[in-house]
Symmetry: C2
Subunit: 230 residues, 2 copies
């Protein structure tokens, strides 16, 4: 094996920028290939199985996924965990180093949003990520957390026929693709209303007043969550 610096390359020479001094070039050696950042984004929504990733990333071929996961794992950005029986499945999750990419990915997504066609949020994971993106926002990237004293358990959000989970913990939002069995609160709404809430076109108070959302459990926590979305 020919290793050049701490960055792990494959046995056969990968295509690299070969600038081991340059943080940007090295970051791009690790993340710059096709699909890699989209895989990381999927994993920002919690640990996922190989098949979850394959299903969530339409167009990504299975050999590429395997290769990318191997590369990310080798370099300490994700790691594999074997779930205990009866689940007996292997899942991939981000390491702390991988988690640090969240603000960056959110920023990139918000930058790219001006080029999108404006329709949005047609899929659970996209919905969860949109919520994270809005909450983190361009100005909140690793900056002061609003209302840092608020602490909630995990809430479930039902949007049309799919569910996501959200947890607001000390001002930090974690969204998950897989909601918990026992959420502390549940909100049910339509894709259209959810999109308006996330995009800030409708406030939480307005949605509640218009009976556009149905709530069970500790409503104050959900209101606090959506209140932070512009």
């Amino acid at each position: 094996m020919f290793l050049r610096g701490p960055l792990q390359l494959s046995p056969v020479a990968r295509r690299t920028y070969d600038l081991p001094d340059c943080g940007l070039a090295v970051a791009l050696d690790l993340l710059g290939e096709r699909w890699t950042l989209l895989i990381v984004r999927e994993l920002l929504l919690g640990p996922q199985r190989y098949t979850d990733l394959n299903d969530g990333l339409h167009g990504l071929s299975t050999n590429l996924l395997a290769e990318r996961l191997r590369h990310l794992e080798t370099n300490g950005i994700i790691h594999r965990t074997e779930l205990p029986p009866p689940a007996a499945s292997t899942v991939y999750e981000l390491t702390p180093i991988g988690e640090e990419l969240q603000p960056l990915i959110v920023q990139l997504a918000l930058w790219g949003e001006r080029f999108t066609d404006g329709r949005s949020v047609s899929e659970p994971r996209a919905a969860a990520f949109a919520m994270v993106a809005r909450h983190c926002g361009p100005d909140a990237v690793s900056a002061a957390a609003p209302a840092a004293d608020i602490r909630t358990g995990e809430c479930r959000i039902d949007i049309d026929d799919y569910s996501i989970a959200a947890q607001l913990d000390a001002g930090r939002l974690r969204a998950r693709a897989h909601p918990p069995a026992q959420p502390v609160a549940v909100v049910r709404t339509t894709g259209e209303v959810y999109r308006s809430l996330v995009n800030g076109q409708m406030s939480w108070a307005e949605a509640v007043a218009a009976h556009a959302v149905h709530v069970e459990g500790d409503i104050s926590q959900l209101g606090a969550l959506f209140g932070h979305l512009r």
Copy 2:
């Protein structure tokens, strides 16, 4: 021409993620190909000619550079300007949309820095970008600008046998690869000292006390600049 949404694709179908709703996927369609972000980083240091870019990005072939520039221009991230005679040269520079990528690129570079081998800043543009990266920092990304009342003209920084320019304007740092003819101040130092200053291992006051930097002009402004680097 087959256009799908506002994103401009080439006549022959480019490889795309084909998720016109997803800000991240669209951003990666624009920026995710090899060399593209490195080209943008070069342009963060001011307008550059084709040849400057070709020289600054070792390993990038001329056909790729031409193709990337065309793609970036088509999508409004950079634009070409013809300099008036006698210069009579065309330069590429970032549009405001392209400029917005600075915090993102800085963040990515800082994230990648842990994988570098630690030696650093061996080239003018790398030096300039390192200064920007440190000044913007992980916590200062589009956040509160420190000492926003400070305003300077453009300073020249001579490091060994090359020069860069720096301007601190209302707390926002602009670094340029090409220093102005009439800088308001000049600081001269070695690559080693400069690296220590940028990396925060040496304070400006220490460097001045140790006569490790030589200063002409308005020293207070330079001190203010380096004082912001940790």
